[in-house]
Amino acid sequence: MLTFIVRRLLWTVLVMFVITVLTFLIFFKTPGVDPARALAGRSPSPQTLAEIRASFGLNRPLPIQYLLMMKQLFVTRSLVSYSNQGLLVVPEIAAAAPATLSLVFGAAVLWVVLAIAMGVAAALLRGTLFDPVLMILALIGISAPVVWVGTLANYFSQGTLHNTFLFSWVPPLGYTPFLQSPSLWFKGLIIPWITLSILYIGFYARVLRANLLEVQNEDFVRTARAKGLREPRVVVRHTLRNSMITFVSLFGLDFGALVAGGALITEVVFGIHGVGFLTYEAFQSLDLPTIMAVVVFGAFFIVLFNALVDIAYAWLDPRVRPT
């Protein structure tokens, strides 16, 4: 088990390295992208450009530039943005991270609870009308693009129904840090939480229901029923545990992807200035240091959660002890 964990983590580091190199190459190697010109402002003279190149190390060979950037990112944390003069990139990301974490964490709690409830209910109520109805709701959840649901939510909560009792409590779009005002933090995040989780509730409810039904055919469930246990107890105590393995592993992957910047659309639609929003702005202005920093941030989380999920999977299911 230990060798597996160590190998997995080593692979993680290697993947991170490859990802940073790829990002670096993609941006710095393309013709037409000239950071010095972007930094210099309007109609720069050749001397200005040369000075900027020297001071930012842009005239050094690529591998040296790469190492320099990595050093500035990880060691000295003094990486400076190209488009916003003097803005330190790492503290900016650190400041934006709580918004993203609040959004993703809250949505995750919501979707796990509701998906388990829906999946178990659909499995228990199999054969009645509720099962297809719940699954249709789940399907609609998967089919609606987040960008549209968010826009629709904004339309109702900020627009037409804003003055009615339904949505008058909704604050203007944006994120309020928890320490500043817990109630505004909460009120401002409820609708984004619901929007973000609709897609995942649909997906996870279906996955859970399928796994539950599969496990229900196993012998140990037949034994439990033969013992005389009532159906809800059989489902929750016995089958649910065995069905959670897929659920947990998929959850780990999705959570990692969301924190890494997958919540981008939700953040842009609701005006929450988190890491995803930063990413979007960085790509709009082609601000290479910020792009590198968010890619590293994102890749780190994805790779970390991939590794955690693999380890958790091997731990939860002894049959899958790894190579």
Partner: protein, 350 residues
């Protein structure tokens, strides 16, 4: 005694003939009998046909020039001639608001967008782009991933390791960031590219198609490779090798037919996924570029008009939900038809 023995055997011509059926025919029949999946298929085909008929709608029903801005145009509502862009309200009469839905197909059925274009026509044209990109990239992705999975699974060993690691890296690269990176890179080249004799313009629909196909390669690769690996170990492959089959014949005659069903199950679901991805990309302006429209760009154009003319943003979303829903239901139906006992089964409640 003789009478009893005579009754035991039915006459030869009344005995039912046992007809062997091809598994594909059986699967097709199962799919055909699944009414919900058939309804979904019909819905999807209707949407595709409607989008293909976009020029017809534009020129013969709505009488507009589909993608051209129409800021000074007029249209007829309830018999009165009305400008498409109306003066803003309020005391200062600032700004212009496009007209809202008239529910009349000949005259701006869903209203106009901020450039005075007919939203209903735009949605049909947008559907062409979205569907083209969605279906194109899903097909490219499935074909490409199958080829790579066949190579990896068949040759095994170090080829498999290297290919799988490359797929892991593509998958580990945060998907959206990879999409962003590649899209932004390609889009900064406003002149387009030269790939040898081929010139691809920057606003071509091929770019999002290829990018999205590339992104989802690992997603299709994983299950297909699993299937290839399990088929390669089966006895009939061993028998084929023993009878001297060449590698090519092994792959195409023995392995591929047994792997194809996995890919067919994945295809409608991949189309749904790629359509949703394309919508998100276009919304963020890194997917379909002007002058082309797609459902995502229409939603993004409608953002500014959201509180006054919500239909510009809402209508494309409804089309997307219908299309993706139809594809998901169809995908479930195909899965049930091809492999009723499959472990991949998710949520078939009917």
């Amino acid at each position: 005694m003789a009478a009893i023995t005579e009754q035991v055997e039915a006459p030869a011509d009344l005995r039912p003939e046992v007809v062997g059926r091809n598994p594909w025919a059986l699967a097709a029949r199962r799919l055909w009998r699944n009414r919900l999946a058939m309804a979904a298929l019909i819905l999807f085909v209707l949407i595709v046909v409607a989008c293909l008929a976009a020029p017809f709608y534009a020129y013969h029903v709505a009488h507009v020039n589909p993608l051209a801005p129409n800021l000074n145009g007029t249209t007829v509502i309830n018999g009165k001639v009305v400008p498409v862009m109306q003066q803003g309200g309020g005391t200062l009469k600032l700004g212009e608001t496009p007209i809202g839905p008239t529910w009349d197909p000949a005259h701006y059925a869903l209203g106009a967008d901020d450039l005075g274009r007919d939203v209903a026509t735009l949605i049909l044209y947008g559907g062409r782009s979205s569907l083209l990109i969605g279906i194109g990239s899903a097909v490219l992705c499935c074909v490409g991933a199958t080829v790579i999975a066949l190579i990896a699974g068949f040759f095994g060993g170090i080829t498999d390791s290297i290919l799988s690691r490359i797929m892991d890296i593509i998958w580990a690269f945060p998907v959206f960031l990879l999409l962003f990176s590649i899209s932004t890179e390609l889009l900064t080249h406003s002149q387009g590219f030269q790939f040898g004799p081929v010139h691809v313009s920057a606003s071509s629909l091929w770019l999002p198609t290829i990018i999205i196909a590339f992104i989802y390669l690992p997603y299709v690769y994983r299950p297909v490779r699993g299937q290839v690996l399990s088929v390669v170990r089966k006895e009939f492959v061993e028998a084929a090798i023993a009878s001297g089959a060449s590698n090519l014949r092994l792959v195409f005659s023995e392995i591929l037919p047994n792997v194809v069903s996995t890919v067919i199950v994945l295809l409608p679901l991949m189309i749904a996924t790629t359509i949703l991805t394309e919508v998100a990309l276009s919304f963020l302006s890194i997917g379909v570029q002007p002058p082309n429209v797609s459902w995502g760009t229409i939603i993004s154009d409608g953002e500014d008009l959201l509180y006054t003319r919500p239909w510009v943003s809402i209508a494309p979303g409804i089309m997307i939900v219908l299309t993706v829903l139809a594809l998901n239901v169809l995908g479930d139906g195909v899965r049930d038809a091809l492999d009723p006992r499959s472990k991949l089964r998710v949520g078939a409640a009917w």
